[in-house]
C-alpha cells in the first residue's frame, strides 16, 4: 500500500537516565530477544550487564537507558517477552553501573 508520511522523529532531548532491572530465564537466546527488541524499536541501550543468579536457571539483566517519552512503551514491550519474568525501574542514581566505571577508565 502507500508509503508512510509521518512527522519527523522528535529529537531525544531527555538526558535523564534510567536503570532497568530484569529477571529472566537463563537460556541461550534470551539476550538476543531483549537486545533485538530495543534495536528494532530504535531505542538505544547505553549499558548492559547480565549474570546468572542462584541456581543458574535465572539471570538478572541490568540495562542503562535514556528516559525518553517512549520508555513506558518500551518497558511494556519488554514485559511481553516470554522469558522476562519481571522488570523493575530505578533512577540513574542506582549504583550498579557506577561501580563498574573502574573497568572502563
Amino acid at each position: 500500500m502507500i508509503e508512510q508520511v509521518a512527522d519527523p522523529l522528535p529529537q531525544a532531548t531527555a538526558v535523564a537516565k534510567v536503570v532497568l532491572e530484569l529477571d529472566v530465564n537463563n537460556h541461550p537466546g534470551v539476550m538476543s530477544h531483549i537486545c533485538n527488541l530495543f534495536a528494532r524499536r530504535a531505542f538505544n541501550v547505553e549499558g548492559i550487564l547480565c549474570m546468572p543468579v542462584s541456581d543458574g536457571k535465572r539471570s538478572r539483566i541490568w540495562l542503562l537507558v535514556f528516559d525518553d517519552h517512549r520508555l513506558e512503551q518500551m518497558v511494556r514491550q519488554v514485559e511481553k517477552l516470554e522469558d522476562v519474568l519481571n522488570v523493575r525501574r530505578h533512577g540513574a542514581e542506582h549504583e550498579v553501573f557506577e561501580r563498574l566505571e573502574g573497568f572502563f577508565h
Binding site: M1, I2, E3, Q4, V5, A6, P28, G29, S32, H33, N36, L37, R40, E72, Q73, R76, Q77, E79, K80, L81, E82
Partner: protein, 555 residues
C-alpha cells in the same frame, strides 16, 4: 514407558494437541520428522509447492478456526521461504506454530550446507521462538508453543529442531497434557464502571471494533453493546464481519479507503470506544487529528497497545469478551435519537459511492455479482491491492471469520494459499479468493496443490494487467509518472490454470457473465474465474498520505 525419537515425539504431541492438517514442504534437515509423520493416521499433510504457500495455508486454517495451525519446512532456504508468512501472521495476530528443521547441533555455527539462523531471523517476527537442544526439551517446548500462540493476543511461534534432536531416542513416561490458553488478565472492574459511566454520559459515542473482537469471539457481544447503547459502530479492515454490514448501527469501515461519512461521523464523536483495535495509521490517518473531540475508552488484551498511539481516558487491559460481558449490564439502554439522526444525515450526504455496480464487467459490479451468487456461509479471501480495497468496501460481510485479508503486512501472494487453508479447514463451505494479476503471480504455483487437493475454491482474478494500487499512487501523487507498474506482456491465465489442472472460466468471453459466474460458483471443486477490469479505475475515497481522515479525495 515408550521409546520414541524426537521426531516421533513431535508428531505425538501434535496429535495430542488435536492437529488434523499440516502444510509443508520437506528437505534434508526435516526428513526424520517427515518419516515420523508418514506413520500418523490422524494428521494429514498437504504438500505445498513453495514454503510461503505452506505458511499461508496454515494461516488460512487458523484464520477461519481461531485455533493454532501448523506448517513445516526444512532448514536454510525452506525456513527463509516461510519468513513472509510468519511476519504476516505476527502483524495480524494469527495463531500459528511453525516447525523448521535445522542442521545437526554439532554443525550449527559452521556455515554448514543449508544452515541459516532462522531462530535469529524470526526473533522480531514471532511472538516467541525456540531452538530445541534435546529431545527431552520437546516435551515442554511443543505444548508451550501452542499455549503461547493462542494465549492473550495470538501470534506465530517458531520451533527450530536440529536434525540430531529429531533422531535422538528418548524414553517417554507420559506425554504432557495438550496445551490450553493462559488465563486472561484480571479484569479491572473499577475501570469497567468508569467506562460504562462515560458511555452513559456521552452524547455522540462511536464504537470502534478491531480484529481483537474477531480473535476473542466477541462479535455477538459487540453487536449487543451497540444495540443496547445506541452506538454507531465502525470496523477496521480486520474486523469486517464483526457486525453485519447492513445492521442499522453499522457505519462501515473507517480509514484510508472508508466511506466519507464514516470518517465524518468519527470527527463528530465525543466518545470513542475502541475494542480490540490498535489505532493503526491506515485506520486513523493523522493521529493528532483523529477524533479530535472524543474521549477514549480502549479495551485490549495486549497491554502495550493501551496508550501507544492515543492516550486513553480509560484503558482496560482485558480479554475483549470478558470486558464486554462486564460492561453490558452497566451500560444503560439508550436510543440516542438525535445522534443517530445526525449519523443518518451524514450518511445520506456523504455515502459510499459504487459507480457501475450494476455492471458485472466493472470492478464493483463483479464483486456484487459474486456476492449475489453466494450466501453468508461463503468465506472470502483477498490478495493485496486495489481489488482488496474494493472487496472490503463492497462485499456484504455479515459473519466473523468470513473475511480473510492481509491487513498489517499487506502481503501480495497471500490470497490463494490462505484461501486454500480456509477450504482445507472448512470443506463444507465455498471459498472465494479475489485476487489481482500481480498478487496471483506471487504464489501461482499453489494452483498445483489446489488441483491435487480438489478444494472447493473459486479464484476471481480481477485482471488490470498492472500493479494497480502502485499505478494509482503514481497517478495521484507522483505526477502521473507511471513507472514499473504496468506489465508489457499479459499471460494467458486461463491456459495457466488449465495447465495446472484447474478448470477456468473467462468471463470476458461469456455472453451472460452473471449466469456464467453463478454457474461456476455453484459447481463444487476449484475454478479460476478470469475477468478483465479497467486499469483506470481507482480506489476512492482515499485519504492521501499524511493527511487527516477528513481530508479525503474522490468518492
Amino acid at each position: 514407558m515408550t521409546q520414541l525419537t524426537g521426531a516421533q515425539l513431535i508428531v505425538r504431541l501434535l496429535e495430542r494437541q488435536g492437529v488434523q492438517t499440516i502444510a509443508g514442504l520437506p528437505g534434508g534437515a526435516i526428513l526424520p520428522f517427515y518419516d515420523a509423520l508418514s506413520a500418523s493416521s490422524q494428521i494429514r499433510h498437504v504438500l505445498a509447492r513453495h514454503e510461503q504457500g505452506a505458511g499461508f495455508m496454515a494461516q488460512g486454517m487458523a484464520r477461519v478456526s481461531g485455533v493454532p495451525q501448523v506448517c513445516v519446512a526444512s532448514s536454510g532456504p525452506g525456513a527463509t521461504n516461510l519468513v513472509t508468512a510468519i511476519a504476516d501472521a505476527c502483524l495480524d495476530s494469527i495463531p500459528m506454530v511453525i516447525i523448521t528443521g535445522q542442521v545437526p547441533q554439532a554443525m550449527i555455527g559452521t556455515d554448514a550446507f543449508q544452515e541459516v539462523d532462522i531462530y535469529g531471523i524470526t526473533v522480531p517476527i514471532t511472538k516467541h521462538n525456540f531452538l530445541v537442544r534435546s529431545a527431552e526439551e520437546l516435551l515442554e517446548v511443543v505444548p508451550d508453543a501452542f499455549r503461547i500462540a493462542m494465549s492473550g493476543r495470538p501470534g506465530p511461534v517458531l520451533i527450530d529442531v536440529p536434525k540430531d534432536v529429531q533422531n535422538q531416542l528418548i524414553e517417554v513416561q507420559e506425554l504432557p497434557p495438550p496445551a490450553v490458553a493462559d488465563l486472561p488478565p484480571q479484569l479491572d472492574l473499577a475501570a469497567v464502571e468508569e467506562a460504562a459511566r462515560m458511555i452513559n454520559e456521552a452524547v455522540r459515542p462511536v464504537l470502534y471494533l478491531g480484529g481483537g473482537v474477531i480473535h476473542s469471539g466477541a462479535s455477538p457481544l459487540a453487536v449487543q453493546l451497540a444495540e443496547q447503547g445506541g452506538l454507531p459502530t465502525t470496523m477496521t479492515l480486520m474486523a469486517l464481519g464483526a457486525m453485519p454490514v447492513d445492521h442499522p448501527l453499522s457505519v462501515g469501515m473507517l480509514g484510508m479507503h472508508g466511506a466519507r461519512y464514516t470518517n465524518f461521523v468519527l470527527e463528530e464523536a465525543d466518545l470513542l470506544i475502541c475494542v480490540g483495535a490498535r489505532f493503526d495509521d491506515r485506520a486513523i490517518g493523522r493521529a493528532a487529528q483523529f477524533c479530535p473531540n472524543a474521549k477514549i475508552v480502549h479495551i485490549d488484551v495486549d497491554r502495550s497497545e493501551l496508550h501507544k498511539i492515543k492516550n486513553a481516558h480509560v484503558a482496560i487491559h482485558a480479554d475483549v469478551t470478558e470486558a464486554l460481558e462486564a460492561l453490558l449490564p452497566r451500560v444503560k439502554a439508550a436510543l440516542r435519537t438525535d445522534w443517530l439522526a445526525q449519523v443518518a444525515d451524514l450518511k445520506q450526504r456523504f455515502p459510499m459511492q459504487f459507480p457501475d455496480i450494476g455492471d458485472p464487467r466493472s470492478h464493483y459490479g463483479l464483486i456484487k455479482a459474486v456476492a449475489d451468487a453466494l450466501d453468508d456461509e461463503a468465506v472470502v479471501a483477498t490478495d493485496v491491492g486495489q481489488h482488496q480495497m474494493w472487496v472490503a468496501q463492497a462485499y456484504p460481510f455479515r459473519r466473523p471469520r468470513q473475511w480473510l485479508t492481509s491487513g498489517g503486512l499487506g502481503t501480495m501472494g497471500f490470497g490463494l494459499p490462505t484461501a486454500m487453508g480456509a477450504a482445507l479447514a472448512e470443506p463444507e463451505r465455498t471459498v472465494v479468493c479475489f485476487t489481482g494479476d500481480g498478487s496471483f503471480k506471487m504464489n501461482i504455483q499453489e494452483l498445483a496443490t489446489l488441483a491435487e487437493e480438489g478444494l472447493n475454491l473459486k479464484i476471481v482474478l480481477m485482471n488490470n494487467n498492472a500493479l494497480g494500487l502502485v499505478y494509482q499512487q503514481q497517478a495521484l501523487f507522483y505526477g502521473k509518472r507511471q513507472f514499473a507498474s504496468r506489465y508489457r506482456v499479459e499471460p494467458d491465465f486461463v491456459k495457466i490454470a488449465e495447465g495446472f489442472g484447474v478448470p477456468a472460466l473467462d468471463l470476458d468471453q461469456a455472453d451472460d457473465p452473471r449466469a456464467a459466474l453463478a454457474k461456476a460458483l455453484s459447481e463444487p471443486g476449484p475454478c479460476l474465474i478470469h475477468a478483465t477490469i479497467d486499469r483506470e479505475q481507482f480506489v476512492y475515497p482515499m485519504v492521501p498520505p499524511g493527511a487527516a481522515n477528513t481530508e479525503m479525495i474522490g468518492g
